[in-house]
């Protein structure tokens, strides 16, 4: 990583590219700058959006001049530069029915838009990532936890980046042409990112499965929506858990009855500890989840 590249989005935005490529370091730096910016509560700043390896600010140039805005961001960059890269956050386990009938059916409807029309999204992605079977692929996907590295596109949709060495990152191209439909709560994948489709709609990511857990609800029905209508925020850690069709159906019934819940555990993520032992650190995170 060299220095941050700043660019104005006309008179109301500053875009800051930490790095052209995705990495935990770039993500952490963006998070740290955005957190500091939030803390300062600078008049005129209306949106602070960390995103993967960059961040975006919206400001009112009548309140803070663009030059002053940029100078402030550069000053924060310098201040955060030497910070120990630790992130106090939370971890949650999210049930997923992999290779489910609904995303497979949707995939079949848009097969001519896919790289490999004869296959399914999950079988194709398992193969191009060198896994011998869908089960092995699912084990990798649901093994190491993932960082929520950005929330957006539409309301409450998290992008996730797996907490693993680059060699173990799952990579898959987006559809050749985007679909016009994706089931709600599909677990998708494009580039090196997973995404959970918070609402039904268009999409270009490979579809691997579906979660029974709502992640966006304007009606805020379930307990875990009591504070806000979207579950995920940048910096959250998610561990996927492969479940059976029976477990999925049981969860759906609980969602409908209003009794389904997710449990978030506080955790302190240390980038240094991760780098010294990626596999061990990943297991440590999962232990936090299971109360050890």
């Amino acid at each position: 990583m060299s220095g941050i590249r700043y660019s104005f989005g006309a008179d109301e935005h500053v875009f800051a590219e930490i790095d052209e490529e995705m990495s935990l370091e770039a993500f952490f730096k963006g998070m740290a700058i955005c957190k500091e910016l939030e803390k300062r509560r600078i008049p005129g700043v209306s949106e602070i959006c960390p995103s993967n390896a960059s961040y975006l600010i919206r400001f009112d140039p009548d309140v803070i001049h663009p030059d002053k805005m940029l100078a402030t961001l550069k000053e924060i960059e310098a201040q955060v530069g030497d910070a120990d890269l630790e992130l106090p956050t939370r971890i949650v386990e999210l049930p997923v029915l992999y290779n489910d009938p609904w995303t497979n059916e949707t995939g079949q409807r848009f097969r001519e838009r896919h790289q490999d029309p004869k296959s399914t999204d999950i079988a194709y992605s398992a193969r191009i990532n060198g896994y011998g079977s869908i089960d092995e692929f699912v084990a990798a996907h649901s093994g190491a936890p993932w960082f929520v590295s950005m929330v957006g596109f539409v309301a409450g949709l998290p992008w996730l980046y797996q907490i693993a060495e680059r060699a173990k990152q799952i990579e898959a191209p987006k559809y050749l042409r985007p679909r016009t439909d994706t089931p709600k709560l599909t677990i998708g994948h494009g580039g090196c990112f997973a995404a959970i489709y918070s609402v039904r709609g268009a999409g270009g990511y490979q579809m691997f499965g579906i979660t029974p857990a709502p992640i966006y609800d304007p009606a805020q029905k379930l307990h875990y929506f009591k504070d806000f209508l979207a579950v995920f925020r940048p910096g959250d850690i998610v561990k996927f858990k492969s479940i059976s069709r029976e477990e999925y159906d049981r969860d759906i019934k609980a969602v409908e009855a209003g009794t389904f819940d997710l449990t978030f555990h506080p955790v302190n993520f240390s980038l240094k500890s991760f780098h010294s032992d990626p596999g061990g650190y990943s297991r440590h995170l999962v232990e936090v989840l299971h109360g050890h």
Binding site: E20, E21, M22, N52, L56, D62, P218
Partner: protein, 325 residues
């Protein structure tokens, strides 16, 4: 007091000044696409300038009033009618119980604003009454209006009266061909030299896919991006980047084919490199472009953008002083 929707029009929704502060979780600003026209309509009926009103797109709705009210229509050039009789645009007028409001087609402009004294009184969600359709949030049941909907209206302010008119010099016109000013940047450098030139040379036509999320343009020459080894995580097409935030007004060109300008219901981020951003002073003008209207993009610097913004704010001040009291 209430208003009943007889015909909803093409895409009519409740909008106000918008819902800032939640873009980081993908909930966009929303609010009236033409903020100036919203202010005009509200001030004419004695509302706060940011009160909730109805935004009609291309084909306006048909409404029945369940009680007398003071109403004003601003924005696109579509003659309003009460029980078939023409009423002025940009001037408040009274409606009686059971009066029926209809519109002629939009001769120029694409969005009309219907303000009612007292404002549309749907619940405040995250500080705004605006509708965000993709997220089924705010407005009337989180969606555009449908036949049979009955909209609650708040209590008019004491100053609400018929016959308050907008001075002609404060009424914008909506040309079918215009220039949109753009500050380049973000991933503009990913374009080839040729594409960086033709983007500003060509005349771009508004495509039918132009809505609150974004305006799509076509018929300009395709733009090519510099070849490179794609960075890790960016995806394989040269127009792809590691997914990042999209400014309001930002211009993306998926596959180099059709530029899309994001508006107030923007998708907050994605993997297409944005090549520049339309200045804040020109966002209202985009909202009034009909399909098949044409635009040329003009590159400007920050100083010009700020000057245009100051002029825009100056017109707002003149609007307030001429319609207050």
């Amino acid at each position: 007091m209430a208003i009943e929707v007889i015909k909803p029009g093409l895409a009519t929704s409740v909008q106000d000044v918008g819902r800032p502060g939640y873009y980081n979780i993908g909930i966009p600003l929303s609010g009236a696409l033409d903020q100036y026209a919203l202010r005009v309509a509200n001030l004419l009926v004695g509302n706060d300038e940011g009160a909730a009103a109805l935004e009609a797109s291309l084909l306006a709705p048909e409404l029945i009033f369940h009680a007398p009210a003071i109403v004003a229509i601003a924005g696109s050039e579509a003659t309003p009618k009460i029980n078939g009789e023409a009423r002025p645009r940009n001037e408040s007028f009274a409606v009686r119980l059971d009066d029926r409001l209809t519109f002629d087609y939009m001769k120029a402009g694409a969005r009309a604003y219907i303000a009612v004294a007292g404002g549309i009184d749907v619940p405040l969600i995250l500080g705004s009454r605006s509708t965000y359709g993709l997220g089924a949030l705010g407005g009337f049941s989180g969606r555009k209006l449908a036949a049979g909907d009955v909209l609650p209206v708040g209590n008019p302010k004491p100053g609400a009266r018929a016959g308050r008119a907008l001075p002609g010099d404060l009424a914008p016109s909506y040309p079918k061909s215009l220039e949109l000013r753009v500050v380049t940047g973000l991933y503009f450098r990913r374009l080839t030299d040729e594409a960086a030139k033709t983007f500003f040379e060509d005349t771009w036509t508004v495509a039918p896919e132009a809505d609150r999320i974004g305006y799509r343009y076509r018929k300009g020459r395709a733009l090519s991006f510099r070849e490179r080894k794609q960075p890790f995580g960016a995806g394989s097409d040269p127009s792809n980047i590691v997914d990042a935030g999209y400014p309001y007004g930002s211009i993306q060109v998926p596959g180099g084919l059709e530029p899309i300008i994001l508006h107030r219901d923007a998708v907050s981020g994605g993997g297409y490199g944005v090549i520049g951003t339309v200045i804040s002073a020109d966002m209202d003008r985009i909202a009034q472009m009909q399909p098949n209207n044409v635009a040329r993009f003009v590159e400007v610097d920050m100083a010009t953008a700020l000057k245009a913004r100051a002029e825009y704010k100056g017109r707002d001040r003149r609007l307030r002083s001429s319609l207050s009291g």
